[in-house]
Symmetry: C2
């Protein structure tokens, strides 16, 4: 489904932005890039900034007009730094846009369109769009670099995609450290409690102090291994305490 | 509150990444940049890529170690491409991280720490952190450019901030086109219905067809002005219809 999502760049001036866009796309699982009348492409600078995403550059299509780039799309979202007066449906939040795009992308191609670095999209190009989206930003300085805007919207699309049950996306996890059983944890608490008294730390047997320290260790959720290390530490202290 | 959030870059190799980071920060309202032992700074390339955010570069602090950069912070989130085996509390999702950071930033400095382009953070540097976060990405190619990672996490922090009632953030809106009153809309519907019959389009008076087309115009939510244009169009057609 991410394969039906097309990133369209219109008349990009800096080839470096094309390369950085390709990289931003690939990190978010997007591979379908279309360039409308780029100033300089192919270009060494694009290749350099694409890093490991040169395959996205190589498969990019170059066309002469935006109409050509999106004619088969069922949804065309124009990204702009500020709202235009043409009242297209507008997404205030990129995450709302992404949910809509992911829904439509099940069925047919969908495009996210980005304009020129300085002047964005023309009114004629906005007319090719079905929706607009802006990235909420600092009102005093809200113009993101082109490839950064692509990165954010691609990230939101990826996020909407992975939140779907059928995406099968799994988080990278380190090998899960097994938690201890309640019995093992109980042994630790008993050991700790005993040493709190034996060491002279607890002068009053029913002080809240013991509860608070026990709560700290509970909250830390030690793994089985960590608990075993703690027990070892307690035993090392214990060896120096007077017998009771 | 965004001012208590610090972006820390550790031993950045490419000065361009420092500049692009400054720009990414400023678009998201962050201004507090600390550089730990950058390879090349200040540098023309940093200034060039900072675009309108050179003020962030100028106020950046340069320090010799990560400990120095974060010693007064109450929360230090290390951004890494993959989880380390050191079991720090980990945010699977940047938005969860951002909510936590925004909460803590009310009270005291909080840092987001980014490592070297190639090797990330060392284990000693991870030990300076209280949390880790990764940006979920393409498992086949998940290493974002450093400044792109900053852009995404800064965007999420800004998002968590603006969702708070007290942020006072308002979306840019074009001048609101006034909606028509129900009476005005009713006149339009009556006009349209009349012409559907007069033109011979509706052959059966109670067909669902009229409902469906009326529903389309309702859904379009025409402004007062647009409704007036539609009425004008209907009148232009009407002038050519046989009198009834």
């Amino acid at each position: 489904m991410l394969s039906t999502i097309r990133i369209v760049l219109v008349q990009t001036f800096h080839p470096g932005n094309i390369g950085a866009t390709a990289r931003a796309m690939k990190t978010m699982g997007l591979t379908n890039l279309v360039l409308v009348n780029p100033r300089c492409f192919p270009d060494e600078e694009a290749t350099r900034l694409a890093a490991g995403a040169t395959d996205v550059l190589e498969s990019a299509q170059v066309v002469a007009s935006l109409e050509e780039a999106v004619s088969d799309c069922v949804q065309v979202v124009g990204a702009s730094a500020r709202l235009r007066s043409l009242p297209l449906p507008h997404f205030d939040e990129p995450d709302e846009m992404a949910q809509s795009v992911i829904q439509n992308a099940h069925q047919a191609p969908v495009a996210l369109v980005f304009g020129r670095e300085r002047s964005g999209l023309t009114n004629d190009e906005i007319r090719c769009c079905t929706h607009q989206v802006s990235i909420p930003a600092n009102p005093d300085y809200g113009i993101l670099n082109l490839s950064q805007a692509v990165q954010i919207l691609a990230y939101e699309v990826h996020r909407a995609w992975r939140k779907q049950a059928e995406s099968g996306f799994t988080y990278q996890r380190p090998l899960d450290a097994t938690p201890p059983s309640r019995e093992q944890f109980g042994h630790f608490q008993a050991h700790l409690g005993r040493l709190m008294q034996q060491s002279g730390f607890l002068t009053q047997p029913h002080a809240r102090t013991e509860e608070q320290l026990q709560a700290l260790f509970s909250r830390a959720q030690p793994s089985r291994k960590e608990l075993s290390l703690l027990r070892g530490l307690l035993s090392a202290f214990e060896a120096h305490l007077p017998d009771k």
